[in-house]
Structures are given as C-alpha cells and as structure tokens.
C-alpha cells in the first residue's frame, strides 16, 4: 500500500488508466464496433472523450520540482485499489468479451414493435418513410408507413419488400414463420427497442436465431397475436453479413 500512496506512482497509474480508456475507445472507433454501442450521431462525442482523456493524462506527466516560482501543482486525491479496478472494468470487460451487437438474446427482454399502432412517431419520419420507394424502406420505415394507415394489412398488400435484419424465433409464430428484426437505437443500446416483421418462408425453421438475412418478398395480410397486420411472404431469403451499422436510427 505504501507504493500506492506515493504521488509519482499515483500520477503514473492515473495517466495509464486514462490512456487505456482512451485507447479502448479509439480501438472501438477504429474498428467500427463503436456502432454496436451507440447511435452514430454520438460518434463525435467519443472523439471528444478520447481527446479529453489524453489531455488529462498528459497533465499527470512527471514534472521537475520547483520548475517555476510557484508551488508545484499537486493532486489531493489518491486512487485506491478498488477505485482502480472499477475504473478499469470497461476496458477489462471490453477486452474479455468480444464486441457483438444486441441480438436475439436481448429480444425477450424488450418491447417488440410489430404492429405499429401502439407506437407514436415523429410525423416527419412518417412522411419521409412514405416518400421512400417501397424497395428502399428499412424495417423502421415500414413501421412508420404502417402507422399512417388505419388498416395497413389491406392497404399495403401486394407491395414489394426488401429488408435486412436478424432472425428471431418467437413461440407465438407458426411453423413456417419467423421474425426479421432490427434494433432501433436513439442514444445508446440501453434504449434499444426492436422493430420486427413476420416473414413467411418455407426456410423459416432452418434459420437459426441471430442469422443476418436479406428478405425479398411481397406484403400480404396476416396475423400476429390475434391482430391483423401485413406479413412478408418471402420470395428469397439471402444470408448476409452483419451490416456496418447493425442498428437503425430514428
């Protein structure tokens, strides 16, 4: 413990911890996995955080004593062992557990937005979604579009669909049905909610949870949980890689 208390050692430790946090953020930024955690519009804040952490770390550099006339800048706070371990936890967990976006495992605990009737959205988003070409619409756009209609199952029947998402099997679905999903993240994954559409395909049972697929097909009236809604009758289900940005942003 003696060593822990020495100012020079303390400063070195603090600088190292700050630098390792900055490095951790930087590696996530550089590898693109930062988007597994936060909405892309907050990326710039992460850059600020890295700069801030490095600046603060530099301020802990060893300085010659009595360099200037004034007293040497000093710190009154001592970082203890437990404090040190806690502050390093994000780095440790981040290194031990490989980065992976939220997937099927998180679905059970979150609100599913399959019928959009209960979800109120930005009018601007609904308009934007309505203007998009049917084939360009994401899962979220489709949900927005459905909101604008009193009976989406009938109104949208026959429209072509081309969406990307991951597979999730829900017990309430029929044998040949599966959910294709994306998480919508407004800030960070803590506020993620899933948007989902029912896909009808003969391959449905063969697709394991968390498989990323591109679904091409046509909307047909269907049912979910006793409510009428459009389902995708798939012509093709193509396996795809994880998109660069796994989440959708409202």
């Amino acid at each position: 413990m003696e060593l822990m208390q020495r100012p020079r050692f303390q400063n070195a430790i603090k600088a190292l911890v700050l630098l390792s946090l900055a490095l951790f953020l930087y590696t996530r930024l550089a590898s693109g996995t930062l988007f597994f955690y936060i909405n892309q519009r907050f990326m710039v804040y992460t850059v600020f955080a890295i700069v801030g952490l490095v600046l603060v770390a530099i301020s802990y550099r060893p300085r010659p004593r009595n360099a200037a006339a004034g007293e040497e800048p000093h710190s009154h706070h001592t970082l203890g062992c437990i404090g040190l371990i806690i502050v390093l936890l994000p780095v440790v967990l981040g290194v031990l557990v490989p980065p992976q976006p939220l997937g099927a495992a998180a679905m059970g605990n979150r609100e599913l937005n399959i019928t959009s009737q209960t979800r109120s959205v930005l009018p601007a988003a609904v308009r934007a979604a309505a203007q998009k070409d049917a084939a360009d619409r994401t899962l979220l756009d489709w949900l927005h579009a459905f909101t604008a209609s009193p009976d989406p199952a009938r109104d949208y029947a026959g429209q072509p669909v081309d969406v990307i998402g991951f597979i999730y099997h829900d017990d309430r679905l029929a044998e040949n049905e599966v959910l294709v999903n994306r998480f919508v993240v407004s800030c960070c994954v803590a506020d993620a909610s899933a948007v989902s559409m029912v896909v009808r395909s003969p391959d449905a049972a063969a697709l394991p949870n968390d498989t990323w697929v591109q679904v091409q097909g046509v909307l047909q009236p269907g049912e979910w949980n006793g409510k009428s809604l459009p389902v995708i009758v798939a012509d093709r289900v193509i396996l795809t890689d994880l998109p660069n940005q796994p989440y959708l942003y409202p």
């Binding site: 936060i38 801030g52 710190s75 979150r110 803590a190």
Partner: protein, 382 residues
C-alpha cells in the same frame, strides 16, 4: 457480472472515505465543523456485507435458474453476459464524454474562477437563490453526468446549498441542447412546455427545501470543509493561483479534472452495471403490462426512466416511443424525473452528498413528479 456491481456498492461507501477522498485540506484548528466519525459500527458493517452477499447470491441464482431452466444452459448464459456487457459499455461510452467534459469544466472552475465572484454575483435569499440555480443550466449546458462534478466544484467554491441542488436537478433539462431535442421530438405543445416548467418548478422547490439546511448536514466532510472555508474566507485553499504561469494553471486544472473523473467514473461505472443488469434480467414487457391507468402508468414510466438511465440530451426521442402506449402525464413524468434521477446519476450524487441526502434527492423528485403526472392525467386528460 451483475453481482460485481452489487458487491462493489458498499465497498464504495466505505472506501470513499478510506481510499479516495482524502480530505482536500488539512483539518483547520478554527473549524466549527465536528469531525464525522468515519467508521460504521462493526455490526452494521457486517450486516451490510451480509445483505450484499445475499443480494449477489440471489442475482446469481436468478441468472443460473433462468439459463438452465428456461434457456438451454451455458450458451444462453453466455449470450446473456454478452448482452449485459454490450448494454453496460453502451451506457458507459455514451456517458463518458459528458463526464470528462464536466470534469474539465470543474477543473477550470477550480483554477480560474475566483471564489469571491460566487459571493458577489449570486443571490442569497432562498427563493431568488433557488430560481438562479434552476436557470443556471442555460449558462452551463451539461447533462446529468456532467453536472455532478461541476456542482461539487462550485460547492467547494462556496456556492449556497439551495442553488447547487436546484442547479443539479434542473440543469439536465433546463439547458439549450435538451430544450432543442425535446422540441424536435414533441414540437411546440403541452409535453414540451410541461417538461420545462415542471422540471424547473420541482428543482426550485427541492432547492428551497435545502435553503435552511446546514452544509455539514448535507455535504460530505471533504466537500463541506472546502465549502466552509470558502464561505467564511478562513484562508484560500482553492486551486486558484493567479500568480502561476498559464501553462501551470492549465496543468493544475487538468490534474483536478482527472481527479474528478476518477471520483465520478467509479459511480458511473457501478451505476451503468446496475442499469445493464436490470435491463438484462427484468423484461420490459412485465413493466409495460402493468402500466395502465392514471397513477400506475406514471409510476411505471418513472421506474423505466430510473432503470434505463438514458442521457437527458436524447431521452425525448425515447419518450416519443412510449407516447402512444402511455398516458401523457406518465410521459411527462418520464421526461421530468429521468434527467433528475436515475441509477447512475443517483450513485454519482454520493460523491457530493451524504447518503441520507442522496435518498432525499431521489425521493423528493420522485414524489413531486408523481404528483405532477397524476395531476396531469386527472386534469389535463390522458
């Protein structure tokens, strides 16, 4: 993982005194503040350890039961851990920039703001002081993570209690960025106006409640000591070094920013882990299923705000998603209560205030925003 958060929690309370918050100043001889006894009695300490261990055991049991009875064992467990880590890092990565920014502002205040300026420019009487505190966010645009180090530093510069508390509670909403994001989510309407008016009112009311309190009853000993010395101008302990060269003053400011960051980051990290743990274990549908009616809906949205711990700069967009499912009063309560108090910010309050006061700072906004939400539902419609 979740248990790690739980186990660390009481540690923080003990070690805050033992390891980290070495008093900022040596105890002066002319102090009127009685020294707070730093050690809890042995029995209550054992009791707390026992409680922590039991809680941790319960959490572990819940996780394993869930994994092996409902799920398919280890792979399921691993996925749960993965989800937990992703959510935890999400909250941390989202909040870290605001925390480091707040810490740097706090360091700059420490070095460059003369403490007599606070005396000179800020009102003393209870109501004007609380009003000033509530409006200060317009000048310091900080969210709920950034505001904590700033408030602590201002207390050390002698800021009156009521101003600081009103600022702490109001600033996450009453600031240009959040007002703008609320406007872009809800537009000009009752929710927008309600959020701003009620956040301000609740912050001012809670701030005024503390205007008669003595600092030594409210602040942690270290903060209180600096506060006392600043108020009574015993001698300038501050880091305000007008004579030192500019470079050295900046170094000092950033040093202090680092200390603040370490102090607060511990709470932020434990808080994020708790929030992530709750989100991994408690299904939202369970919460949402009970959320109907003018009273229950408000309580559910408050609970959700507390658990989600989303930054106030963006929670308006999140609230929008619930606007259809929940009563308007509940949505406004979410928008008013969430920024004031959530898991991570209430843990961070522990670095300024005594535990009893932190409890007040959770319960008072909770009750006031509940009242507001229910009143809204009954009088302005659901």
């Amino acid at each position: 993982m979740i248990c790690a958060g739980l186990v660390d929690l009481p540690d923080l309370a003990y070690n805050r005194r033992m390891f980290v918050d070495k008093p900022q100043v040596a105890p002066p001889t002319d102090s009127v503040i009685p020294p707070t006894p730093p050690t809890a009695s042995l029995r209550s300490r054992w009791l707390r350890w026992l409680l922590t261990v039991l809680l941790a055991a319960a959490a572990i049991t819940a996780v394993f039961y869930d994994a092996f009875v409902n799920g398919d064992g280890l792979p399921y467990l691993y996925q749960r851990v993965q989800t937990f880590v992703t959510i935890f890092l999400g909250i941390f990565i989202e909040a870290a920039p605001f925390l480091i920014a707040g810490s740097i502002v706090s360091g700059l205040i420490a070095v460059f703001v003369d403490q007599s300026a606070i005396d000179r420019y800020l009102p003393k009487a209870a109501l004007p002081a609380a009003l000033a505190g509530g409006a200060m966010g317009m000048v310091f645009p900080v969210c709920e993570c950034g505001v904590v180090p700033v408030v602590r530093r201002l207390y050390e510069k002698g800021l009156p209690l009521s101003i600081g508390i009103a600022f702490l509670l109001a600033a996450p909403v009453i600031n240009p960025i959040v007002i703008l994001s609320t406007y872009s989510a809800f537009g000009w309407g009752s929710v927008f106006v309600g959020r701003i008016v009620f956040s301000f009112l609740i912050a001012v009311v809670v701030g005024m409640l503390f205007s008669r309190a003595r600092p030594e009853e409210v602040l942690l000993p270290a903060v209180c000591q600096a506060h006392h010395d600043a108020c009574c101008a015993v001698h300038d302990h501050s880091h305000h070094l007008p004579s030192a060269p500019l470079g050295q003053r900046f170094t000092q400011a950033f040093n202090l920013a680092g200390d603040d960051f370490f102090d607060m980051a511990r709470y932020l990290i434990v808080g994020s882990m708790l929030a992530a743990g709750m989100q991994t274990l408690v299904p939202q549908s369970a919460l949402l299923a009970v959320g109907q009616g003018p009273v229950l809906s408000v309580i559910v949205m408050q609970a959700l705000a507390f658990i989600l711990s989303v930054c106030s700069t963006v929670d308006a967009f999140l609230a929008l998603a619930f606007a259809g499912t929940f009563t308007t009063g509940a949505v406004v309560a979410f928008l008013v209560f969430g920024p004031m108090v959530d898991i991570k910010s209430s843990l961070m309050f522990l670095s300024i205030f005594q535990r009893r006061v932190v409890a007040y700072l959770i319960v008072l906004p909770l009750m006031l925003s509940l009242l507001m939400g229910v009143w809204w539902n009954l009088n302005l419609g659901w």
